[in-house]
């Protein structure tokens, strides 16, 4: 993918957020930067999409939130995967692999 950051595909945001939290708890900006890093700058999550998604996932019970201190001693809200979140991540990953494989197959058809 050349050029600037691409808008997120529908349904991929949840997967990316869950995946970003696999390495440990992060605050909102951390999640955002981690996704950028993981996707080598392809995806850039705007706060207007990030926060609603985080709150929705918290309500679903996939992640839990806790206030803590940031690296610069600033109060920040940290998110962490729950057990349900890990299960969700596995399910979403499987789904995504299946879809991407299917799409790839489709595109390779002569």
């Amino acid at each position: 993918m050349t050029g600037g950051p691409t808008t997120l595909l529908q349904g991929t945001l949840d997967l990316l957020i869950l995946r970003s939290l696999l390495g440990g708890e992060l605050h909102g900006l951390g999640v955002s930067r981690r996704i950028e890093q993981m996707t080598h700058g392809t995806f850039f999550v705007k706060p207007g999409s990030l926060f609603p998604a985080l709150h929705r996932m918290e309500q679903e019970g996939w992640i839990s939130a806790l206030w803590g201190d940031s690296e610069n001693n600033r109060r920040a809200k940290y998110y962490r995967l729950t057990k349900a979140g890990r299960k969700q991540l596995t399910a979403e990953t499987e789904r995504w692999v299946r879809i991407s494989w299917a799409i790839a197959q489709a595109l390779e058809t002569p």
Binding site: P52, R74, K77, A84
Partner: protein, 885 residues
Amino acid sequence: MPFFVKGRSFLRNFFMSRRVEADLDKEVHSHLEMLAEENVRAGMPRNEARRVAQIELGGVAQVKEQVREQRIGHWLQSAISDCRFAFRRLRKSPGFTVVAVLTMALGIGINTAMFCVIENIVLRPLPYHNPASVVMLWSSVPKKDIQRNWTSYPDIQDWRSESRAFTQVAAVFRVDTATIVSRTGEVEHIKAEHVSSELFSILGVAPQLGRSWSASEEDKRTPVAVISHAFWQTQFGDSPDVIGKLIEVDKQPVVIVGVMPAGFNFPAADTMIWLPVTLIPQWQAYLTARQADAFAAVAQLKPNVTPKQAQDEMRGISSRLKDRYPQFEAGKSVNVVPLAIEFVGPNVRASLWMLFASVLFVLVIACTNVAGLILSRHRSHEKEYAIRLALGAGRARLMGQHLVENLLLSLFAALPGFGLAAALIPVVRSYGPADIRGLSDIRLDPVVLLFCALLSVFTGFICGFIPAWFNVRRDPHGAMKANSRTMAGSLAQRRLGGFLIVLQLALAMVLITGAGSMARSFLRLHNVDLGYQPQGLLFLHLDVPARRGSEPVELYREALARIHSLPAVKNAGAIDALFSGYVPDDVVEVAGRPHLPTAEDSDAASSHVASDGYFETAGIPLLQGRSFGATDGPHSQPVAIINRSMAETFWPGQNPVGKQFRYGVPGEPPSAWQTVIGIVGNTLPNGRESRAFSQFFLPQSQVPSAASMDVIVREERGTVPLADSIRATILSLDPNIPRFNVTTVETKLEELGNRRALETWLLGLFSAISLLLAAIGVYGLISYSVTERTSEIAIRMALGAARFDILKLVLGQVLVLAGIGLFLGLGGALVLSHIASRFLFGVASTDGPTLALTTFLLLAVALVSGAIPARRAMKVEPVTILSSV
């Protein structure tokens, strides 16, 4: 456990919203700070770092709103906050709120009341087991357009044995009253139904106490009776040992075997007692005579048999009977009427639906008014909406807020609306026409309440939707940039205002035209000549029980003489039935002509018994010959007075005076020969809408058996009320005369034409309301338009327009809109005219004068309503307006 987690989040969002909000605020701000720090670390100056961070975040408020929309229970919270907001806004403009609520309440109230009537009378099934399967069987004479005639008991037995469409057939007898001796020893008339045993099982209602009688019991010769719940209460004080008690009915002892439950109302709510017709001795002769037409039948259709199929079968049976008994059955057929239609006929149904349609019109006009109010109110809030749109409020959310506000308004209106309906129902109950069955028992029930609620929501939705839709479609840039000089109102909004005026006037036009034609036909009807003078004529129905040693005729003669001698009485007379309610059923044989016609022939006449002074008292002119006199005694030659119609039918081109005729029912020996002594003018025996038919009158002195008479008394003009002295006079002669009422003939006539009067008054009332609403509506919308165009008007004046031109401008607009509205209304009235014509008497539904008058009236109302704002427009001072910007 996702459900548990979601539930907890919902409760948290809902009950700890302040903490949730604070949390969100802190989170977004800390995010912003961290972004800024990142930028500082990247080497930006502090201020620039903050600015770039803000841009990346995209606005704290917007982000927070987006998060809120994701919350579980968000819709509930936003609905609640919308309600609070709407409530505050309505409270801030009490004038608007009160007017809108009252207008809607008026519409909702009369619609709910009207629906209550329809629901109770038309929609609710009859309180019987399977009411749809019950039909009434009447004899009919198609050639004479007689749909409901009585027939003989043998006929009904044949119907029963030959038909396959019915599971059971019960006979009901024509006589529907009985005299009883009450607990206090008084002789009373009550409604009594003489029926056969199948009736109770056809209707599927069992007595609450005791039993009904069985068919096998009808062979025994012990009269039994089932009494109504009301009769049980008044006469026996709810005592359970009423079963087996004896009661005197029509002078003979009857054993009470059952008490029907409350609410059993066949055929009427005031029917007090049901008697087996086969067991009443004085009517035994009726059970075998095929010429005695005194019965109808109630039957239960077999499952899957339609009334139509039953009708076809009965027609066949009737024609077979015709072959078997030509002398009795010629010309007759059978009419199968579903019980619901029998009780509430097509005319009453049509009349109720017509009134319901007209109150819906009123509701639409009321809605239009409120829509107009909302439109001009929104106009003044235009900038506010534009700002909110620009700040990122969703259009859907703004629309939602409008709707919430209007729904709130309509819910406020539902309460007084329902109150209005509740207040109207007792009025309908006591003043409604007596010929609508069950009208005196209507009540508000849950269905009506539900209707009221739904109607309110619907009203609020309609009132608010159109203006709301127009408003949120506006372009925020335009409204923001606009100031009072350029804000001339969007074309769409002006069109909407015009559309509302047109709609209101068109609907009002249709309604008022209808009411106008109705009023004209009512007036025309009132001027119909009855053939007698009903003004100042008192009326009482007397029933003198036969007693050994004294004939009723003696008592009547004495009573009439004493009443005549009362001060202030001009005249008094009596006839057996002033309002006969019958069709002519006596066949007449003219002396010298051998043929005694059958029921099929049209030359039947109706026999009456009259006292000496009857014609003079009623004001019926004697056209020829003489009236009854003292010489016409029981032993002198039998005489008769005939009416003009009879003279023309039976002695065309001859002088009937001195001629002889005799009469009778087919199959029975005819009467003695009667000599015609006089001819009187025709009268309309069943009220102003009936037709005159052949009648002859026999002197009371020669027909001594007539026990029940209608007494009429002509009073002197403007005298003291006579009713009490008449009553006292009669009771002084015989205290045992059953209770009677003294009313006036005009009251009786009103009862006959009561439904028409009600239709006319109600339509008139609805029209007046619609006219008032339309006037207010036109005033409001034109005022709004003038306010909109104030700066335009000022510019026109500054450019040299005269004040008169401004008046022309505004009134021209009114005229154009009114013209379109009235044109459409006229079209609507013409389209609906074939429906209207069935309610009219002697007036075309497209009655020219009514249409012209209505057009003129509405045009005048529109111009006057428009003239007030037009005057204001004329007074616009261009300098003030143009410099105030």
